[in-house]
Amino acid sequence: MRKISGFLLLAAAAANGQDAEKLAALEKAVQDAQAAADNAWLMTSTALVLMMTGPGLALFYGGLVRKKNVLGTMMHSFILMAVATVLWGVVGYSLAFGGEGRFIGDLSYAFMNAVGMERQGAIPHLTFMAFQLMFAIITPALISGAFAERIRFSAMLLFTVLWSLVVYYPLAHMVWGTGGLLNAFSDGAIPCYDFAGGTVVHISSGVSALVCAIYLGKRHGYPSETMKPHNLVLSVVGACLLWVGWFGFNAGSALASSGQAASAFVATQFGAAAATLGWMLAEWLRNGKPSVLGAITGAVAGLVAITPASGFVRPMPALVIGFAAGLICYYMVAVVKQRLGYDDSLDAFGVHGVGGTVGAILTGVFATRLVADPEGSRAFGLVDGNAMQVAYQFVGSLIAWVLAAVGTFVILKVCDLLVGVRVEAEHEILGLDLSMHGEEGYNLES
């Protein structure tokens, strides 16, 4: 943009003989055009990220459960599109992005106070708020993979509200908020790079999922009874929608329609592709068959791992990050989980917790100024000669792990006391669709 306006300046000066007013008008027109492009891309991205929760995640998770729980599972995603939105509008956005605290925001933006059409960076403040809202929706929805098929609906609602307040808003502020403890771009004491939410979204939801899975205990009959996914076709469609939506998630996180957005776009695609192949290869070698469920799960693991790195790494490291995530997440889900015996029903931890951590650490390795800030002089990751960054990424991840684990445990205790987290055994056997919602997903005979 600087180059274009410079050119216009010269052209205008030559043609109009130093007509200052006209020049100013031209400058403004160029700026407005750029701003319009930025806003258009960010509003598109916002819609794409919402599409990841519903239908993306709802289908992905819905297909993986048994058919008696398909509606209840999809509802866990869908209802968050409403609950997280209201909470975000009232206090959430303010607690995440208001003020300059180290650990949490303030109430300056509560009830959308002072959040309007004026630009915040390149885009209208409202656009920024809405874009970030979509992350606050999908993050608790991801956790639902761990407590699927056995949580009481009222407990799920209470849990996600408290979890947003205690875990998500503080963590989002620490990593992305002004003055946040982990914000590398705001003089954070532990400067971490998390471009689009590897730590804020995926470590937080994945680790919380693990705590949920352990706290709630195994599903009735696990692992002796067959709990095959009831409709992998839904899961394939869901995974594809997640993949497409992820362009909004990552490339949108450039917060402008910029070269960095394009770089994040490409890294996202490359990471997902390499992880798909990594998972498939590992499974093929170990089981003798490359499963479709494995391929789509690998894709999601790669998208998770590339998330923190997407705006900071070049395309080839994106392949490396994706491939590593595919292999490591496969090992966690197919080998370690079986050995430890916890019932993370839909592998929210194995994919998001593990993939997010792999991504966070490798971001410290591969982040480079060539992508992140080509005109600046800051050394980003190990490849820029900043070995310390790997340690910062590790500590940042650890803080997210601890906050998520402790926060989730306390919240589960509170929910258990107030409403009871787990459904009664007979309701679980009947299925959540009938026992919680009074309906069934498939009424093909009617």
């Binding site: 067959t226 095959k228 089981n287 499963s291 469920l293 080998v335 989980k337 592998d347």
Partner: protein
């Protein structure tokens, strides 16, 4: 009268049905069932979680025929349902004490 029960591969149903109609059998009951014999099942793996699926989908035909026709029907069943591979199924034959047509109370072989 004999009752002939044949458990066959589902994909063989149309062929078997056509062969039976071809020899003049005009009544049968078809059930979708699950089961296994020596074929056993197969293994499915979902994210490392193994499930042995030992009950496979099968089709079961039930026919009641006059004693004189039993052998012919059985030979026809064998001919049309056989692939020669494990899992082709089995035929069971039993005596039937009585048959009654509900519409007009015909009894015995007349009711078939």
């Amino acid at each position: 009268m004999k009752k002939i029960e044949a458990v066959i591969q589902p994909f063989k149903l149309e062929e078997v049905k056509a062969a039976l109609i071809g020899i003049g059998v005009d009544g049968m009951t078809v059930l979708e069932v699950r089961g296994h014999g020596r074929q056993k099942g197969h293994k499915e793996v979902y994210r490392g979680q193994e499930y042995v699926v030992d009950l496979l989908p099968k089709v079961k035909l039930e026919l009641v025929v006059p004693d004189a026709r039993a052998d012919e029907v059985i030979r026809t069943l064998i001919r049309s349902a056989r692939t020669g591979k494990i899992g082709d199924g089995k035929i069971f034959v039993s005596e039937i004490a009585e048959a009654i047509r509900i519409r007009n109370e015909d009894r015995g072989e007349a009711a078939l």
